[in-house]
Each structure stands twice: as C-alpha cells, then as structure tokens.
Amino acid sequence: MKLTVWTYEGPPHVGAMRVATAMRDLHYVLHAPQGDTYADLLFTMIERRDHRPPVTYTTFKERDLGADTADLFRRSCQAAYERFRPEAMIVGASCTAELIQDDPGGIAERMGLPVPVIALDLPSYQRKENFGADETFYRIARALARPCEKTARPSVNLIGPTALGFRHRDDVTELTALLSDMGVEVNVCAPMGATPSDITRLGAAHANVLMYPETGESACRWMERDLGLPFTKSIPIGVGGVRDFVAEVADLLGVAPGLDTDRLRLPWYSASVDSTYLTGKRVFLFGDGTHVRAMARVARDEMGFEVAGMGCYNREQARAVRAVATEMGVEALITDDYLEVEAAIEAAAPELILGTQMERHIGKRLGIPCAVISAPVHVQDFPARYAPVMGIEGANVLFDTLVHPLVMGLEEHLLTMFRADPEFHDAAGPSHHGGHAPLVAAEEGGAGPRAPVAESPRDISAKKTEGGGATGAIEVVWLAAAERELKKIPFFVRGKAKRNTEAFAAARGETEISVDTLYEAKAHYAR
C-alpha cells in the first residue's frame, strides 16, 4: 500500500477515456461500479466539453456481484451500440472490475456486434493514466490501420493529442499551419478529432509527427514497424525545438525546410535589455517528461535561466529526462510523490518553478513564483484564448508565461533600493500581482491572494526537511544580527542568499554566520 494524497496521474482507464473523448464515432464501454462516472466531469468541467464523454459505465452494485456482472456488461454493450451506433467500440475494465475478472474483451467478442470491438487490457494496480492513453491508442491503431496507398502530396499524421491534454487543442492548430507553410499536409490527426475510419487511413501518410510521446509513442513504433512510417523525435517547443523539428520533417519527407519567422518574437524579447535581469535566474522544472525536457532547453538557451533542478512524474520518460538533466548538470528527480518534489524544490531554492498544478501550490507555500507547463492542470489552463506551446506562437506564449510570475526588472531594482519602504516590504508582494489586495484566510477557500503560509499535505509520509539549507553534516547557526540582515534582502532572492551563505560557511568549516559571512558569501557568488 502507498499512502497518497495528491496523484499526478489518474488510473489507466482515465487515459482510455482521454482517447475515446478525443475521437468521434467511437464508444467506450467501461465495466465499472457506480461512482466511477466522476471522471466525466474532468472533461465537462475542466475542459468545458459540451458533450458527455462517449463512455458507458456498467454501474454494477453490490447486489450484482457474482454471476450476473458479465450479463450486465453484455446488456450495457448492446444498449450502447444500439443507442450510439459508433463506427467502432473499445471495451475494458476499471480497477474494481479488474478484480471480478469478467473479461470484457471476450464477452464483447462473442456478441458478434457489426462493428470492430477492441479489447483493452489496462493493469490498474501497476500502471497509470498516460500508459492507459498510450496503450488504448496503440490498440485502436493496431486494430484498424492497414497499409494503403500514399497521398500524392507529402503528408504526415499528427499523433498523440488527446482530450484533457495540456494545450493540445492549440498545438494541433499551430503545427498544422507550420507544416502547411512547408507544403506538408496533415493526413490524419489522431486521436484528437479522428473517427475510426480516419484511423484506417493512417498508412496513407509519408511520416508520423509524434507530438506527445506520453500518449502516442507505442502507436508510432508499431506504425514504423508494420506500416513503414518513420516518426519525428524532436519536440517542437521553443525556438530551437521548432528549428530542429522543421529540419527533421524536411529530411523525412524530402521537402525544403522552411520556417516563417515573421511573427516570432521570443528571440528579440529575450535579447532586449529589459530581459537582462533574467540572466542566471535559477529555475526548477517538474511535470511530464516531454514538457520538462523541452522546457529545460527553452529555460537555459532561450531565456538565459539556470536550470537548478528538473524531473518528471512518469517513469516511461525517465531515461529521456535523465539524459537532458545530465546535459544541464543536474540530477533528474523521477518520482510521483509530491513530497519528494517539494523537498527537492526546497533544497534547490529556485527563483522560479515551472511545473504542474501541484508545483503551483508548492510554490505558493514556499513563496516562489511558478508557471504551469504541464498536466495535471486546473480549469484556468484550458484557456479561451489561443495559447499553444508548440511552434512559433508557442514560443511567444512561453516567453510571456515564464516572465509574468517574476517581479519585473525595474521593480526588482526599486525593491532592492527601497527595501525598507512600507509598500515594498515582503508581505506586500510584487505590485502587478494584486499583492496589495486584502489577504483571504486559507480556510475560506477564496481565490484571492494568500500569504505564503498555507500548509501542504506534507504532514503524512516522508520526512520533514529542516528548512531549505541542505548543507549536510555541519550544523550552521545564524547569529541574530545576520538573521536581521538576511531579512533585509528582498524575498525573491532571500532563499538563494540563505542557501549560498550556508553553503559558503559550511565549505569554510564555519559553524556560525555573522553579517560578515553574509557579505563574504555575497561577494563570493557575485555574478
């Protein structure tokens, strides 16, 4: 058993729902107890979908347990087919149904429905949501896709976008336009927007664009083997990522690489003098492997940040993330336990966190600015406006996203100059973030700004880390005067100053930190 409060991923059948909901004319019959329909509201509320997910739950109850759950499944399957008349169906079990062993696949197969019925085997007690999506789409592709005549003009499939995907909607639009500029058409985009008949035409493309390895890699590997479709490996996030991607597509399809950079603003924004203060800002990245890998590169090479730590919650991407982390000179954190993430962030004392909804709250607790770059996310990260993270516009969006949480350059100077000013004291916060609004008590659950005192559910499992200074063996004590001096340092750099000073003192074998130590350290780390 594993004690859990937050989970980065849902169970695998939620991944299957993400594929089914992304597609059209496909229906999912899920053998599941009453209550598992809670997952519907992820799609209707967080993503604001205007239709119910195409999922029929058998809704077995206690009185059904025993012989007739299999019959219940059969009847639900029949009723779902008759009501919705889908082109194809997928069937499977949720975690509870996995225990009662009814074999949805076998039952559905014997029913002789006039459409393809694809059985899913999703081990609920070992795997998670991303695996569920990846495996489901692989099974669908494998069941339906056949070799077929190639399109006359160069074309690709976009593989991997799903329902509840972070910015998938606009990434698809952005990449479609970018490919069109190169004279490359999109044959099929799947699962998002595809019907089962569209899946049968996957083989007509000349190559696959694997947008999200988390949800499309297995299908791409199978298509490479069985349909002879090569697939792209670069992730078109950030300016460098997009250029690599364009070169890779051109190479795969034998077309001229072309990139219309008329609307690309990130390079100039990043080069302009107002961005100078961003140099060397320490950033911690956490999320799904793909977004973290791509964003680490954006952070270091395109924003001029220093990567202070990075990691991912999905083990499937551990190897790729470790490789990038090594290149960045940090050790990758591969964990799905938010307490470990919180401890790592506290130890790294970054000035900016790029993460998921969880890291946003960890940031709030530690008083560190945060931008969201990966699922899982709340409703505000399914925006009404156009907000891709891939392609040219994606790069522009990322510049704004990464800079906004930080105190603006000029204000940073003013804060340093006038740090005793009543309007600039710590609790006031940066003025462009509503920092002067009255604080809302955490109990009230208001959406207003909070003092960074909210506890996280860190109190169960795992050891509490003592403060931020992970200096190891030597216990370093702050003298009162030094502590007062530390408090004069603006809050957004204080964590770093504290950590640097402690490391500096420990390295010199000192056990006490005086005001002098503080300034010695400051001089030592000057950059």
């Binding site: 058993m1 107890p33 329909t37 997952a39 109850k61 007690y125 909210a454 169960i460």
Partner: protein, 437 residues
C-alpha cells in the same frame, strides 16, 4: 403552518407511484462525502483503502481543497496487496502507524472501505478493532464503507455516522433527561443558528452528530429524541433507534416553511406549546420569507427537473414548488427513504414524476422531451445540457453551501434563480459552444 402556503391535499406525494430504473448511474460514490466530513471533525482523519481511482476521485472532487492540508488520504492498493490478504492487513497496520506517528493530533481515524477493498473482502472492521486495541485511548479507529457498489454520494455520510452510533456511551432515560440529538453535518454558522433557536424554544441539551471532537461525544438512549437535518441519514436513524432513541418526524429545514415545521415537530415531541415556537422564530421567519420572495422572482411559474444526486431532491422540490412558485416535472433521487421523507412527501403536491435510481440515457431522453426551464444535475451533465439550450443548476453546490434554516432560505432560492438570471443577463449571442477538436 401559515396562510401563505398552499394547503397540501393531505397526502401529497405520499402514495404517488415511483418510477424505478436500473442502468447507468451518473453519480458520485460515498467516498465523496469525506470532502466535507473531514472539515466538520477537526480531530479526525479519513483513510480510504482503495485504488488510484479512489485517490483520483477525491482529488477531483475536493478541487483546491486538496492543497489545504486535508485530513484524508488514500492507501493505494498495489499488486502485492492483492496477492495475499495477510499482507494487506500488515500493510494497513504499517500505513496507519506511519500516519499516526506523523499526526499526533488525530483522535479519530476512519478506515473507509472502497469498491476494491470490498471486492477483495478486506475486513476493515477487524482491522479497526485491532488498531484501536493498539492505539487506545489516544486514538479511536473506526471503519465504514464509502464504496460505489454500496453507497451513492451523501450516503457516505450516512454510513460514517451510523458506524459511530454503536460506539456511543449509554444514554439517559426519558423523561428525566430530555435530550435532542440532531443528526447531519451542517456548516458551523448554520449549526449555531439552529442551537440558538432551539435554546429560545427551551430545549437545553442539544447534541449534534457528528460531534466536532472525540472529546465531546455524548450518550444515546431512551431519553434521546432524534431530528434529522439531512434526508440521506436513514441508516444513522435506524442505528440510533436501535439504541432506544426516538425519531422526531419532520420535513427537512429548507426554506421558511420547512424550517418552521421542523421546529414545531421538535417542540411537540418535547411537550412545548406551538405558540412558544411561533414567538421564538417570528423574526427570522419573516426575514426568510422576505428574502425568498425576492430571490424567487425569477423562479415563479418556471419548471424544474431533478436528476438524482444527493437525496436532497424531494425536500428541495417541496421548497421550490411551495415557496418559490415553481412547477416540478420530475424529481429524481438516488434512494427514496419513505420514513425520513414522509413530511416532505406529504407537502409535495402531486404532479411530478418521482423517480428512484437511474438509467441516465433514458432520463436524458425525458428531460429533452420536457425541456424544463431549469435542470438540477451533476457536473458531468450540466455543460452538455447547457450546450443543448437547457439551463442547469449543478447539484453538488447544494451539499457544499450553507442552505438550511431561516437565514439561508434566500440564498437557497438564489442558488436556483442565478442560472436563470444569468441566462437573461448575457448578451453574447446564442451560446453555441465552439466545435471541439
């Protein structure tokens, strides 16, 4: 009660036929109730023994609350736990020890059963006894089930409270001790209003189940009278009756009428003359009537359709039809407990279809045919129905928001009128959702 309300025909919907359907249910399981129960019991921790699905459900239902140091968690079953049950008990002990070591402030620990734990027949009652023996008197460990195969949404509160009843000390005799037990978790502010009015009527000893803290446990016996403030507490009521307590039957305290009838029923059970009640409640009752009249302007003459969710549907339909002038088309409830709802059913005029249980596709066919002005439903259905041009009120809010008794009556009507007022206020052209990819 007062002249302002239409005279009920005596029987109301007491004997109305009930449409019972089985099929796909679009409802929460009982685990969801942990989200508000843990707030009412600050010294309690709720440990769900379940799967990743259970943890994911709690996270989705609790929304941002998950980040506010919740006192609930899931012990997620792993493959090794499913292999042999002896392991599961050892694992559970390990997890509980770990938890209690880290949280010395916990006085009550609830082991909450889920579908997976029920299916593999993991006996949490035995585990609770064993763990209590280890951790008493510091911590009392209890167990109940919030599984979807047994419970729907608010029934999780029922199974939790019912599990606490056998454990309560023996109570006093009637008439020496005339004690009132009020069952049902209420927001603190509402509970205080209720206690104030009960004191004004002359009822001195009032115990609330769930008690806020383990230290404030009370006795139950023949000297106890039980009033419910929530309609979904059938098992809890039965458990209290088995301990000798007597049920005070009353409509649920929603709206001015329901609240007044509720106080009158209690006064009668305690032999207090009705005019004492009328005097005590006159001012708040008049306030409630004014507030409801104001908030209900948008509701008068409009039709309402309830999908099953929390068992609050019958009392709410009674409030909306009698105090807000609405017309009920269908009142769906996950479970119709006739003893508990008798007072509300008697006041609910005949006319609406009463339905128990659900086949959601058939029910959606009915709502599309009826095209009601307002549909009360869960979050999985609300946006899809809005996209079809039906106004909806999402029902979960009715459980999470203070809606009981006089001072909340206007807010309660407001919850239903807001979607309709919004529809009239928006000038953005037809709200056709954009084509989804």
């Amino acid at each position: 009660m007062t002249e302002r309300f239409a005279q009920a025909s005596g029987q109301g919907c007491r004997n109305a036929p009930v449409l019972k359907q089985r099929g796909q249910h679009e409802v929460f399981c009982g685990l969801t109730s942990i989200v508000w129960l843990h707030r009412k019991m600050p010294d309690a921790f709720f440990l769900v023994v379940g799967s990743r699905t259970c943890a994911h459900l709690l996270q989705s239902a609790a929304g941002v609350m998950i980040f506010a140091e919740p006192r609930f968690a899931t012990a997620i079953l792993e493959e090794t736990d499913l292999a042999g049950l002896a392991d599961a008990h050892e694992e559970l002990d390990r997890v509980v020890h770990e938890l209690l070591a880290r949280r010395p402030d916990i006085r009550r620990l609830f082991l909450v059963g889920s579908c997976p734990s029920e299916v593999i027949k993991l006996d949490l009652a035995v585990a609770a006894e064993r763990l209590t023996a280890v951790h008493a008197p510091q911590v009392r460990v209890q167990s109940y089930s919030g599984s979807g195969i047994e419970t729907t949404f608010t029934q999780g509160e029922d199974t939790c409270l019912a599990a606490m009843v056998p454990d309560l000390p023996a109570g006093p005799e009637w008439p020496e001790a005339r004690e009132l037990i009020v069952a049902g978790a209420l927001p603190d502010v509402v509970e205080d209003q209720m206690r104030d009015l009960l004191a004004k009527i002359g009822i001195e000893t009032v115990h609330v189940l769930p008690a806020a803290r383990e230290a404030t446990r009370f006795g139950v016996g023949p000297g106890s009278r039980v009033a419910l403030v929530q309609p979904f507490l059938g098992d809890t009521l039965a458990a209290l009756e088995r301990r000798g307590a007597r049920h005070v039957a009353a409509p649920m305290p929603f709206g001015a009428e329901g609240t007044t009838a509720w106080f009158h029923a209690i006064a009668e059970a305690f032999g207090i003359p009705p005019e004492v009640v009328d005097r005590a409640v006159a001012a708040p009752k008049a306030r409630a009537e004014r507030a409801v009249a104001q908030a209900a302007e948008a509701l008068r003459g409009r039709s309402v359709f309830f999908f099953p969710d929390s068992q609050l549907e019958v009392p709410l339909a009674r409030f909306l039809t009698r105090e807000c002038g609405m017309e009920a088309v269908e009142v769906g409830t996950p479970f119709l407990h006739r003893q508990v709802l008798d007072g509300d059913l008697a006041l609910l005029d005949e006319g609406p279809t009463l339905s128990e249980g659900q086949d959601v596709d058939l029910q959606l066919d009915r709502v599309r045919a009826a095209r009601p002005d307002l549909t009360v439903c869960g979050l999985g259905l609300a946006n899809p129905l809005e996209a079809e041009g039906l106004s909806t009120k999402w029902s979960i809010e009715l459980v999470f928001t203070p809606v009981h008794f006089y001072e909340q009556a206007g807010d309660l009507a407001g919850l239903f009128s807001r979607p309709l007022r919004r529809r009239d206020a928006l000038k953005v052209g037809a709200a056709q959702p954009p084509a989804m990819p």
